[in-house]
Every structure is written in structure tokens, then in C-alpha cells.
Symmetry: C2
Subunit: 133 residues, 2 copies
DNA sequence: TTCCTTGCAAATCGTTTGCATAATG
DNA sequence: CATTATGCAAACGATTTGCAAGGAA
């Protein structure tokens, strides 16, 4: 698979694989650019869109108006901090169960599931606790 | 609460309450306009944003690039049909459980949860079955 | 050669915003 | 009266796209 990719597509894909923070297209662009200054933002978008359509990566909309991309396509949840905006993974057991429950109750075919939690992450909670002193 | 709202806000809010199809801002706008032709799209957006911030409605991003709005703020899931684009509700028991599981495992405070399923709805499945004949 | 991809820049389009005016309580 | 909301139009910003040129098979 990787061999028939353009150099740019390979870099974008492997960059995503090294990250667990669900970068935006622009973050991908800025990072690739450090090694490959000629790459354009349009190319980054085109490849991210393509990879997501092929199911090799995930495209996430977490509510901040910007798309995030995730190299981990296994079933898992996300958490978005309303304070710092970070997007992190949450591993939960109940997901498979929820999925099959939904399959049973719903009249139609369910292919995919997306669960996102919102709140304030541990770091930001600590930070605001310090500021109270 | 309702009494101190402007006429426009009242109409937007009560329109959302009559709908279960999670309309977009533009759909809200087009509908309100039939009774109130002078309303502007900016006002619709301003009020939807305000109502969502106050927690009186939900703002949903289901992945089609457009925000959807939901008058039902109770805990429930959504389903998005990849074929017709419709957004419907799914009532599931396991949600509360999933939420508390997440609370336990996660280092931070979780305020809110959003679960969305993707696939093909019953109507579209039937339609494509007919076309196979 | 043939098809796919790129870089660039312009276009798109959903959403937000500044401002002067009007409505609300 | 003071405040808040409106309509309008312009601005914004993330994403997409048209096109001519470059790369891969």
C-alpha cells in the first residue's frame, strides 16, 4: 500500500501514525513542511480526505470548528477539553455493547460509531485549582 | 424565560421544539421566514448560538460540514444516514452506564457526551433494494 | 505515454461580526 | 431610560477546487 503513494502522502500518513493528539490539517501541514518545505496545504487536505475516505485514518469533528485527524482507526472514544481544546483518547469497554444494542434497536444498517466526551481535562483542573490560591 | 425573549428568538426556539429532524441554521431560517419574512440569517445564527450556549438546545456536528440543531437536550444518540443525510434520534439504555464508566476511567471532569452512529437508514436500504430488481 | 498527483491561487460556503437602527422591559 | 437584539452586508476562516506542470508506473 505504502509503496504506490506519493512522497507527500507517505509523509502525511506516517506523521499521523506518530501522533496521538489528533492534529488538525494545518498542524499536519506545519510539521511536514519542516522536512518538506514545498508541500502545499491543499495537498495535505486532499490526502487527508482521501485517506479518511479509504478508512485508513479518521476525520473527527469535535465541535471546535476545525477537523481533526486520527491515525488510530480502532474503536475508541475521544475527550475534548473545553479549556485547552486538547483531544485525547478514552478506552472504554462498553463500546462494543453499545454498538450492538444500537444495531438491534435501529431499523437500518449501522457501519460506524463516534463517541465524544466533553469537559475539563486533569491538567486544566489542576491549573485552575492553583490559581484559586 | 420565554417572555423576555425577542419575537425572533421565540419563533426560533419554538420552531426547533416542533421538529425532530435536527434542522440546520438555514432550514430554520427558511421556515421562520415564511411567517416572518424580515428575519435575517445572522439573527438566526446569533440566537441558535445563544440558545446552545445556555444549554436550551444542542448544536450538533455530524460530519456533513453543516451544524445541526436539536431542541431535545435529554441524553440520547443520533444516527446519520450516509445516503440521504438525514439525522435521527436513537434511544439507548447503555448511555448512562457508558458515561459513568468514562467518568471513572478519566482523569478530569466530564460534563457532556455525544454519540453518533453512521450507516444507511431503513428507507434508503429499501430504496436501493428496489433498484436492484 | 497514460494516469495520478502536485503546488498555487482563487473560489466556496457556513458562520460570525460591526454598525446603525429598532425593540424590549 | 438603559439595555439588548435586529437587519444588513461585509468579513472571516476552514476547506475545496481548477488548472497547468511534475511524477510515477
Amino acid at each position: 500500500m505504502a509503496m504506490k503513494y506519493s512522497r507527500q502522502r507517505q509523509m502525511i500518513f506516517s506523521f499521523l501514525m506518530t501522533r496521538k493528539d489528533h492534529p488538525t490539517a494545518d498542524v499536519v501541514y506545519q510539521n511536514i513542511r519542516q522536512n518538506y518545505p514545498n508541500i502545499s496545504l491543499g495537498t495535505v487536505y486532499r490526502n487527508l480526505t482521501l485517506l479518511a475516505e479509504r478508512g485508513e485514518i479518521l476525520r473527527l469533528q469535535v465541535g471546535d470548528g476545525v477537523d481533526h485527524f486520527d491515525g488510530d482507526t480502532s474503536r475508541h472514544c475521544h475527550f475534548v477539553c473545553s479549556d485547552c481544546g486538547s483531544v485525547t483518547d478514552i478506552q472504554l469497554d462498553g463500546l462494543e455493547e453499545l454498538f450492538s444494542k444500537a444495531q438491534q434497536e435501529f431499523d437500518g444498517r449501522i457501519d460506524r460509531q463516534s463517541t465524544c466526551f466533553y469537559g475539563v481535562c486533569g491538567k486544566c483542573l489542576d491549573k485552575s485549582a492553583e490559581e484559586q490560591i
